[in-house]
C-alpha cells in the first residue's frame, strides 16, 4: 500500500512537471510574440510611411521565388516565400490611404497564405507552383495598387493549370518559365509591362 502511494505521488509529480514545462513554453512564446509586436510597431512609427520600402522587399522576394522555381529549386523558393511573409508583416496600414487599406486587406491575407505555403512545401515543387500562380495574381494587384521601383513584365504561360493559363511577373523580357522550369523553359510570352 505504501508502495502504491509512492507510485501515485511519483505519477502526479511527473504529470505536474509536464504541465509546468508546458506553462514555461507558453510564457516564452508570449514573450517572443510581445517583443516581435513591439519591434514591428517601433520600426513602423520610426519609419513613417514604409509602403515603398516594404513593396521593394516583397517584389524582390517574389522575384526570388520566381527564379528559384525557374531553376526547379524548391528549397530556395521556400526560403524566399518565408522572407516574403516576414516583409508583409512590416507593411504599415495606419499610414495608408483608406482605399489602399481596402485593397491591402483584400489581397494580403491571400498573399500571406500563398507565400506561407510556398515556404512550407519545399519538397513539393508542384504544389509550390500552384501557390505561385495564385500569389502572382495577388502580386500583380499589389504592384498596380502600391507601385514598384523597377519595371516589371507580366508574362503568360498558356498551359499551366490544365490549360487555363497562368501569369507571372518578371524583371526581364526574356522568357524563363517558373511553372515548368527546365521542362519548358522558354514557353510563354510577355503580355504587359508595368513601369515604375
Amino acid at each position: 500500500m505504501k508502495n502504491l502511494i509512492t507510485i501515485c505521488a511519483l505519477a502526479i509529480t511527473s504529470l505536474a512537471a509536464c504541465n509546468n514545462d508546458k506553462q514555461t513554453t507558453t510564457a516564452e512564446n508570449k514573450v517572443i510574440t510581445d517583443s516581435a509586436l513591439n519591434s514591428t510597431f517601433g520600426t513602423a512609427s520610426a519609419a513613417g510611411d514604409n509602403t515603398a520600402a516594404s513593396m521593394k522587399d516583397m517584389v524582390g522576394q517574389y522575384l526570388q521565388i520566381k527564379n528559384a522555381l525557374v531553376n526547379d529549386n524548391g528549397e530556395e523558393a521556400a526560403t524566399a516565400g518565408n522572407a516574403f511573409v516576414a516583409s508583409m508583416g512590416k507593411m504599415e496600414k495606419t499610414t495608408m490611404a483608406p482605399e489602399k487599406v481596402k485593397i491591402w486587406e483584400d489581397l494580403s491575407e491571400s498573399a500571406k497564405e500563398m507565400a506561407g505555403h510556398i515556404g512550407m512545401n519545399h519538397g513539393k515543387i508542384d504544389h509550390q507552383r500552384e501557390h505561385f500562380d495564385m500569389l502572382s495574381k495577388d502580386m500583380y494587384d499589389m504592384v498596380t495598387a502600391f507601385g514598384t521601383d523597377q519595371t516589371l513584365y507580366v508574362a503568360h504561360c498558356p498551359m499551366f493549370n490544365k490549360n487555363k493559363g497562368a501569369d507571372w511577373l518578371s524583371e526581364t523580357k526574356e522568357i524563363k518559365n517558373p511553372y515548368y522550369g527546365k521542362e519548358m523553359l522558354t514557353c510563354g510570352k510577355i503580355k504587359e509591362e508595368i513601369t515604375q
Binding site: C8, L15, D106, S110, E113, D126, E130, M134, D138
Partner: protein, 154 residues
C-alpha cells in the same frame, strides 16, 4: 518482478489521470450562416461527399467516434481538427474574401486530384471517408466549375 509491477502500475495511473485532461470539442449547433452551402451553389451529391469526408476537420462540427473519448486519441484528433480548420473552414467560407474563396476552391481541386486529401492519418481511422474515383471526379469537377462561376462574379 516487483519493479516491473511498480512500473506497470505507475503507467496505469498516469493513463487514468490522462483521461481527465480532455480537449475541447468542436461542436456547434445548426449550420453556420457563413457555411459553404449558403455562399455558393453546392449540389446534394457534392454536399454529401464533403460532409462525410471533409467536414470533420474542415468545419465547426466534428462527428466524434467513441474512441475519441480515450486519451491521447482525443488530443490527436483535436490537433487534426485545429490544423484543418485553419487551412479551410467550410463553416466560415462566406467570411472569406472572394479572392480566397477562389483560392480555396482551387486548393480543393488540387488536393483531391493529387490525393493530398483526405490525409492518410485520418482515413486510417475513418475508412469510409476515403474517396473512390467517381467521388473524386464529382468534387474536382464541382470545384473547377465553382471557380469559374466566382470568376464571372468578379
Amino acid at each position: 518482478m516487483a519493479v516491473l509491477k511498480k512500473i506497470f502500475l505507475g503507467l496505469l495511473i498516469v493513463f487514468v489521470i490522462l483521461q481527465f485532461i480532455r480537449p475541447e470539442r468542436n461542436i456547434n449547433s445548426g449550420i453556420s450562416a457563413n457555411d459553404l452551402t449558403k455562399t455558393i451553389d453546392v449540389p446534394d451529391n457534392v454536399q454529401a461527399i464533403l460532409k462525410n469526408s471533409c467536414y470533420d476537420c474542415h468545419s465547426n462540427n466534428t462527428r466524434y467516434p467513441w474512441y475519441m473519448n480515450i486519451q491521447p486519441m482525443g488530443w490527436i484528433m483535436a490537433n487534426h481538427v485545429n490544423a484543418g480548420k485553419k487551412d479551410l473552414n467550410f463553416s466560415e467560407f462566406g467570411n472569406y474574401t472572394l479572392r480566397r474563396q477562389k483560392n480555396k476552391l482551387r486548393g480543393i481541386e488540387e488536393s483531391i486530384e493529387k490525393d493530398y486529401m483526405p490525409v492518410y492519418s485520418y482515413t486510417i481511422l475513418h475508412a469510409d471517408a476515403k474517396l473512390n474515383d467517381a467521388e473524386k471526379k464529382i468534387i474536382v469537377d464541382w470545384a473547377s466549375a465553382a471557380q469559374d462561376s466566382l470568376e464571372r462574379k468578379n
